[in-house]
Amino acid sequence: MSLIRMSSPHVYKANSTANVMRLVMLAMLPGILAMTLFFGWGTLIQIAWAALLALGFEAAMLKLRKRPLGFYLGDYSAIVTAMLIAVALPPLAPWWLTGVGVFVAIVIAKHLYGGLGQNPFNPAMVAYALLLISFPVEMTRWNLPFVLTGEGWSIAPFFDTLGVIFGGAEPVFFDQFTGATPLDEIRHRGGLTTEEAWRQSEVLAQGIGAWHAVSAAWLMGGIFLLYRKVITWHAPVAMLVTLGLISSMFFGFDPDNYADPLFHLTTGATMLAAFFIITDPVSSATSNRGRLVFGACIGLLVFIIRTWGNYPDGFAFAVLLMNLAAPFIDLYTQPRSYGHSRANKGRGGNS
């Protein structure tokens, strides 16, 4: 009788990295749909293009690193990264911008550090930060929501968008379909109070609903991930609560100079980051307590960068900074194990 010899446990939950990634992609669908609805076809085109590039770069790197292609391509991690880059970029970003972003994320931020599970920085955020610093014009040319571009649901036609992304476009096109984001308006409002800025800006006055809707869509996806236990609540909640509390505090003291908490929570990348970026397990803190600290610090940094920094939104920088701090956070946020009166702290050991 030849029976196999295995170590316990003998049963496993039907789970896999690919499954986790599929759930993340599924959870992104509402946000993607909302973006497409309010900002046009660009988002879908960017996603398709970025995913294609990501698979190509991933395959090339796996080949170079002599890893089994099918095994690693099947985990969908590259596609998730590509999707995150695609939804973070302006929907009308030129093809090469996306290409550079995906290249930086997959080749440099991921594979040069050892591939899946080894990257200290969130690949999508590395790409985003690099593009933001290198190509500020292209990166800040965000689409106007459809309510501002004409009557009814008037978004740029699909083939026009395709042409703009892959061929270039007349400035007229950009004039019609792009403009400042709400965060830009608030950041660069000059000497105006927030209320004055709010009244004067079209985007703020009429278009803000688009951002609210998109944020709500991301939140929906996030709740789905929480429900499916793909992510834990610690980092998102800590981040959102911190950002909300700090902005409330400043808004409460000085509403003329500071934006209200709802604005902070619903514009820019807040909701996307909360559930899809800072929850990236590889580059974030490990323990639940660690994630609380990690999320809270990101919320704090984002508020600082948005309020006093040079960039209208600071998620990429905040996340990268906290990625740097994650191993350190891990050292001091070990859980208290069963049977121990207090948690261990610090390095432990000599190595």
């Binding site: 029976l3 316990s8 446990p9 080894q118 834990t232 994630r291 069963y338």
Partner: protein
Amino acid sequence: MGKVFAFHGGIHPPENKKQSTRQPIGRVPLPRMLYVPLQQHIGMAASPLVEVGEKVLKGQLIAEPVGRISAALHAPTSGTIRSIGPHPVPHASGLDSDCICIETDGEERWAEHQGLGDYTQLERSQVIEHIRQCGIAGMGGAGFPTDVKLHLGDDHIVNTLIINAAECEPYITADDMLMRERAEEILGGIRVLNYLLKPSHIMIGIEDNKAHAIHTLEKVLKGCELNLDIRVVPTKYPSGGERQLIKLLTDIEVPSGKIPADIGIVCQNVGTMSAVYRAVHKGEPLISRVVTVTGDAVAQPQNFDTLIGTPFADLLDAAHVYENKLYRLVMGGPMMGVTVEHDQIPVIKTTNCIIAASQDEMPPAQQEQPCIRCGMCEQVCPAELLPQQLYWFAKGKEFDKAKHHNLFDCIECGACAYVCPSSIPLVQYYRFAKSEIRTEEAEQRKADHARQRFEARQARLEREKEEKEARRKARAEEAAKAQKARKTPEAEATAQAPDLASLKTAAAVARTKLKKAQKALDAARESGEGDISELEAAVATAQANADKAQQALEQADTAAAKPAAAEVDTKQLKTAAAVARTKLKKAQKALDAARESGEVDLATLEADVNTAQAAADKAQQALEQAQAGAAPAGDADVKQLKTAAAVARTKLKKARDALKNAESKGLDGLDKLRATVEALETKADAADKAYQNAEKAAGGSAPGEPKAAPVDMKALKQQVSIMRTKLKKAEAALEGLEGEERTQAEQALQELRQRHEEADKAFKAAEQAQIDAAAAKGVDLKQLKIDAAMARAAVTKLERSLSKTEEADARASLESELVAAKRKADALNETLKQHEPA
């Protein structure tokens, strides 16, 4: 029903318990062979009490516990011991272990056994000993001998007894079925434990998926006098883990590295309660247990009351196994059970379940993917560890960090591996890290021990060295003191001894002074100035001084020279003799050459030769005299004399040969040659005599010394034999001679004979002295015997040669020797006889 708390983590794997609870507990047909492993738990293996071929009865003790943590073994049924030796056992290592193999006889004849009756009338220790003798061991997990846990009441205050009925592992329903069917027994066991441990509170922890069992228990417990609660806990793996159940029921955590008894809690499994009941009330040892046989590869999953030692194959047959579907055979649950490789492995006291799984049911593990730190493992870890961190540390062999992250609090429940989306066999990583750390620590301990021993040894050696050094110093000091004490008179002695060098210097100084004084006097006389008389007096004094010094020097000189003089003399004389001989040789050669050529003045040459001869003789004589004088000094001289004698003899021989040659050839100058021969003969005699004298002196100088005697004897013997040879030769030579020569030769022969006799006499005398000495001392019977035998042999030898010899002279000498030999032999025999009786 009391409050139930929660523990961190946990998982909800598919339960798969329904399949095996449809049928009541069944029975397995009696197996033909039973294999009872001697060791079924940690601690010591039991020691067998039976021998191969012995008949045993059901319940008979077949192996007794060794040490505290050890359990007794009993024959599960009646039969014959077939072997005691290695057999595959259910253990994660897959290694064989010693088992007692019993061939069953089907009679199921019980050994005599009876319960304790009213155990409350007995001492607690007596009841516990009875439980120990019945081989009761924990039937839930590790098979820890129950009596050890029952003794916990001795040194711990046990206020809570927890009966573990959680049975949290999927598939297993053995405890569930036991509670459904034998709740009374379980309660009986709990009562025994209540008596032994006297807890203030008893709780039965049971998962809410066992409604039937809960209902039965509640029925049985109705009106129970014990302070006993049934606590239903939510179904969540691993709520049946001892520490997790304690947390669930009491909200207390067992401190890391401690046992529940340290916080006043004792846990027992329901199966064990039933076994305790049977042991105490019926006297039945633990020889059977309920085993769940389930899995997709059996047609009728069911629980069986199974004899310990039953091979899995019999159980699988009873449940109608599909051989072709069977892919993995697990003993225990799917989360912590171990796979077994073949079905002859026996059921042991802890075998609660056998899962015959098909490949679909328990497929081989997926290929390991990279860890993405998703943290799902952390969410389910019941020990609240960071499994993914431990994984990274184990993988990177950063064991210090792993320890710091409480690796050793891991209970290896497998929850982390169960949820891991990357299919990482996390538990194996932890097992690896744990064993590596244990090995490392063991080695560290060993190294520490070795280092301590080494240091102790170094210290000891150092101490010994120091002690030695101290002793040496003390000795040296003592020696120095003694030396000092001795040195003082010695130094005085040396100081008193005449110092030749200083005397010489003194004499020289005195002479120089005298010369100066003389010079001064002469100068004064010449110039006519100064006080001449005074100077004259000074010269006289100087003269006297110089004379005195000279005298002293001469005296000292002669005193010093005296011992050396003799040696120096002999040497000088020797050289002189050698020179004289060389001269003589040269002269003789010249003479011979002259004779051959017939030229030159023969007469002058002969005169030269004669002169040389005379000089050589003189030198030789002087040498001999000197040597004779020095002879008593020692052996060296005797040796020299011997050599001289031998040289003389050789010369004599040569001369004789030359003489013979000359005679046969009829050459002239025969006279001279003869004269030479004679002269040489005299010389040889003289040398011999000198040698003998010396030898005698040497022999006489140490008459009592045993060493000297044998040397003497040997030399004497040699002497005698040499004499004999010479005598014979001379006699032979005599035959060829005529007239005057003959008479001369005869004379020489006579002399030789005389000398021979003398030598012989000396030899015999020495021999006699030796024998007497031996007799006087009464030594060495052996030596005496040998000597006697030798003497007898010599006698026979002599007699034989006498019978062969016809010549009168030879006969005469032989006869005389024979007589001497006989005398000696007789003497030896007599001494021997004198000593032998003693």
